[in-house]
Amino acid sequence: MSAVSITTLDLAMAALLLLLNGALSIAFQLKLERKLSIAAVRMLVQLALAGLVLSFVFRQSSVGLTLVVALVMGAVAGYELWSRPARRIDGWWSIGLGTGSLFLIALLSTLFTVGVLIRPDPWYAPRYLLPILGMVLGNALTSMSLTFDVLTTAAERERSAIEARIADGGTRLEAFEKVLADALRAGTLPILNSMAVAGVVALPGMMTGQILAGADPFEAAKYQMLILLVLAGAATLAVLAAGLGGVLLLTDARHRLRLDRLVAY
């Protein structure tokens, strides 16, 4: 059994709801119509391109091409990580560390999932590797951003407590104990929530997709379990990297608090 194919007319009809929203926005002067149309058009172009590129890459099924696409995905995720926060740590060091650890964690988790668990033929089959890399990257990115954001905000708020601990002869990890714990908790919250509500409140996107594409729901559920376990593992690693890396970058080798390295964006 395979999915019912969607025509261009179907897509146009789907946009009707959005058009209605646009009309309401104009009628009530909500000034949403511009943002809505830009977002919708952008989404259409992005997805169309993604579909075309992926079709091509899947047909070629070459190691080199798959790697190139993976690297582009990593670079975009790295850029998002760098550009998203309200405050970031000055210097190439932090950019390299953030992007590097994000990509490394995502790549290793993906290779483990595809190469050891799913084992498609060939092992690098882009049909498996790229979508999974995308999910892992997206999740780890959110977790890292959240962790870093809470860490920097809390470090500024708790500055006097952190400095008191440092002045008392505490190490940087001792001084950041509480703030780091808060940041790690915040970073793991999204994936914990996803796992908690999976299948009960909402069917995860991937499982929904597989079911719509004609897969047996139980098979789809097993895939989803596998993915969620990997996502949770990768997100936790990413959270730890962002939390510990953040503490190291917000302090120096003399265990001094260096909030001067934070620049507002």
Binding site: A164, D252, A253, R254, H255, R256
Partner: protein, 219 residues
Amino acid sequence: MLKVDHLRVGALSPVSFALAAGQCLVVSGASGTGKTRLLRAIADLDPAEGTVMLEGAERGEMPGPAWRKLVRYVSSEPGWWAATARPHFAADLAAVIPLIEALGLSGDILDRPLAELSTGERLRLGLIRAVCGRPKALLLDEPFSSLDRAAAGRVEALIGAELDLGRIVVVVSHQPAAILSRARAELIIEAGTFRLVPHAVPRVAWSEGGMGHIGARRA
């Protein structure tokens, strides 16, 4: 011996001075001139060029935390990382209780929420925290601010007792008269430079709290 040699603090001219065990230096100057930054630089809380040595060892020769245990900075508004004071003191409460009494604080202060204490009470608790660590040098930032006369007198007596124990004390104060009698010198910050005014014969005298000490000290 605490030796500060060509220490650069912000845009101020470099500063040098040396204090032997039991000696006290008062730092004065208008608000915003860099008194706090000087203390923080000595405690290695902020990066600063220049040499700071304690008993022959440069601050860079030991890890930052080890240095700060020996050269202890006490903020004018000490920070806290728990809700009450008790968790901030290492196991040795036997040394804490007499100090609480000596500074005129009530016995239950360790278990009262810090947020409910007055600024002066928190200031004195911060001082006790530092003294309990038995550092070689105490860097006190405005230890008399927000204290009434009686409490300020008790803090003066505590500083005097610490000096008698051989502690080196650097005090930043807007009210230098309070501690000047024990100071070896006064370091005045004016117009971006430091001016060291030695006190050849410290005049005296601690009469409060049974920690009296009379006589000339090493000049």
